[in-house]
Amino acid sequence: MAENVVFHFDIDGEDFSSAGGASVTVKKKLRQLGIDSEQIRRVAIAMYEGEINMVIHASGGTADVIVSDHEITIVLADHGPGIPDVSLAMQEGYSTARDHIRSLGFGAGMGLPNMKKYTDSMKIETELGRGTTITMTVNIT
């Protein structure tokens, strides 16, 4: 049983230009580990959506990616406003992003649904006014 590798990223809020940078770095590292390209892509998309969400709604947060020999775990944690209605937020197209965010091409209401679609498990822990922690896993072969 090999040790796990952990990659930690601080996601800078308010900065759309660099949003998605962590997912690009993770993609590169997973390639070095010889992970299947389809699995890499699923991790990258889930992580990218999560990063963007944290920038739009929570002024940033942290992302940790833990790679073990059988799965990749992505933990996205922020101290934002929390999600009032998780089941509503999980609906495709539902978005609370403001117009100026939408005008940048973000906030289409596909973030959380995509994160669920591309991962094998997803857990949302959220508390209003406290923040949200999303834990996702992708099984690797």
Binding site: V5, F7, G20, K29, S37
Partner: protein, 446 residues
């Protein structure tokens, strides 16, 4: 797997081991070892960035010389569209074509003409409902190699149609063989006048494993200097150019896209920008596009490492040259894409990123890399011979270099040593050294 043949070479005598190319290589393929650059051929995508930035002209493009015209009885020139933008004070492409004939070519087939055919085929291809969108242009070999290397998921998006140079070469060869049925086909030489190194590699390696029809590849720069004088003396050209606005438009970014007659396209240039676009397309972040044109060189093919003119000046000249040309005189007779212009599969190869075939070993190495990187200064100065501290950590874990190569850490260690030994400080040591070498500068005030 057959080894990939590259078209960037290094003159070891001229290379001073500076870090200019190291920092600019988009795939981190370069290391400085033994005081000179080394290129990892598994990672090199032949983009030519290192040739463009080398301050000592140590990096060179590999290509054939004009002397190779003598190798064939019938010589055919295939000038890339960017070629026409190299010349100053020309108001008609005919003189350039005439210049090529007078230089010693028996026939000239413009790649711009073939580009118009490819544009027509692209429009047919985009009408198909069963293709993965966005369709990515296959014209820039740097981009297709980059996709094969780092974006395996996007492979199926690359248009499986031969690029204009190959279409031009196969049309040229067919016509020449028909015209000279009694001539040994080996006596027909097809010469591509290339703006860039990537197309040289493309010719050497074949596109998607298909045999290509190009026999020699000439540097646009070499041919430019040879025919510039010839062109000045041409009053009445006997030959005429046969390409139109669309074909010549391929020389710069956006030209290929504008020829699909569809607004849903994206055209980008510069390798770093292209990589960012590919990352976003790979993340499905930007959807609803039909076509993507990516050119590794700034400005498009006019920005290639074997061109002479500034890419933007070349583009401005082309705008003027194509003003009075027909839109697209070269149209395919067929209404569907000929089978012979399709490629079955894209080339796959080992990009050399993998740390180990064994997952557990790779994980252990990655842990070590992370731990070492945390200890490194994070300046990405390149003094160790690797482009970034992270790349240096990888090299250490792969036993390709030693941790002692980090000059920043060495300096700190040296300083600590001096302080701990209380013998002297670094500035004392420096002063002693200068005194001994008789270089002490006079102090301004005592």
């Amino acid at each position: 797997m057959q080894e990939y043949k590259h078209s960037v070479s290094l003159d070891v005598k001229k290379c001073r081991g500076c870090t200019t190319c190291l920092k600019r290589c988009p795939t981190e393929a370069i290391r400085i070892r033994d005081n000179h650059a080394q290129i990892n051929s598994k990672r090199c995508i032949d983009c030519g960035e290192c040739i463009k930035v080398c301050p000592h002209k140590a990096k060179k493009a590999v290509h054939d010389s004009l002397d190779s015209l003598a190798d064939f009885q019938i010589r055919v020139a295939l000038p890339a569209p960017a070629f026409y933008g190299q010349f100053d004070n020309i108001d008609n492409i005919d003189v350039i074509i005439e210049g090529l004939y007078r230089l010693g070519f028996d026939y000239v087939f413009e790649v711009a003409g073939a580009a118009e055919m490819v544009s027509a085929y692209t429009r047919m291809y985009l009408e198909r409902k069963d293709v993965k969108r966005p369709v990515i242009s296959s014209a820039c070999p740097v981009i297709t190699r980059m996709i094969n290397m780092n974006f395996p998921y996007l492979k199926d998006h690359v248009m499986p149609i031969l690029p204009p140079i190959e279409v031009a070469a196969s049309v040229a060869r067919e016509r020449m063989e028909a015209e000279y049925p009694d001539l040994d086909p080996d006596q027909i030489g097809i010469f591509f006048i290339s703006p860039c190194t990537a197309k040289v590699s493309y010719v050497k390696n074949g596109f998607a494993g298909k045999q290509n029809n190009i026999d020699r590849i000439l540097s646009m720069r070499d041919v430019y200097f040879k025919i510039n004088d010839i062109i000045e003396k041409i009053d009445e050209p006997e030959h005429t150019a046969a390409s139109g606005m669309i074909g010549i438009g391929w020389a710069s970014t956006g030209g290929e896209s504008s020829a699909i007659f569809n607004d849903k396209y994206l055209a980008a240039d510069g390798i770093e920008n292209c990589i960012k676009v590919l990352e976003q397309i790979d993340n499905e972040d930007f959807t609803g596009l039909d076509f993507i044109e990516l050119n590794a060189c700034s400005g498009g093919c006019v920005g290639g490492a074997m061109t002479v003119a500034n890419p933007y000046i070349a583009q401005a000249r082309l705008q003027i040259l194509k003003r009075y040309l027909p839109v697209s005189p070269n149209r395919p007779a067929d209404t569907k894409i000929p089978e012979k212009y399709f490629v079955d599969e894209s080339v796959s190869f080992d990009p050399g990123h993998l740390l180990s075939d064994d997952r557990n070993t790779a994980l252990r190495m990655m842990s070590e890399i992370e731990a070492i990187t945390a200890e490194l200064p994070g300046l990405d100065c390149g003094s160790c011979g690797a482009p970034t501290c992270m790349a240096f950590a990888e090299d250490i874990v792969k036993n390709e270099t030693s941790a002692d190569e980090c000059t920043v850490i060495m300096r700190e260690m040296f300083h600590d040593y001096l302080v701990n030994h209380k013998e002297t400080t670094l500035s004392d040591a420096y002063r002693d050294f200068m005194d001994r070498s008789g270089k002490t500068r006079e102090k301004k005030s005592e």
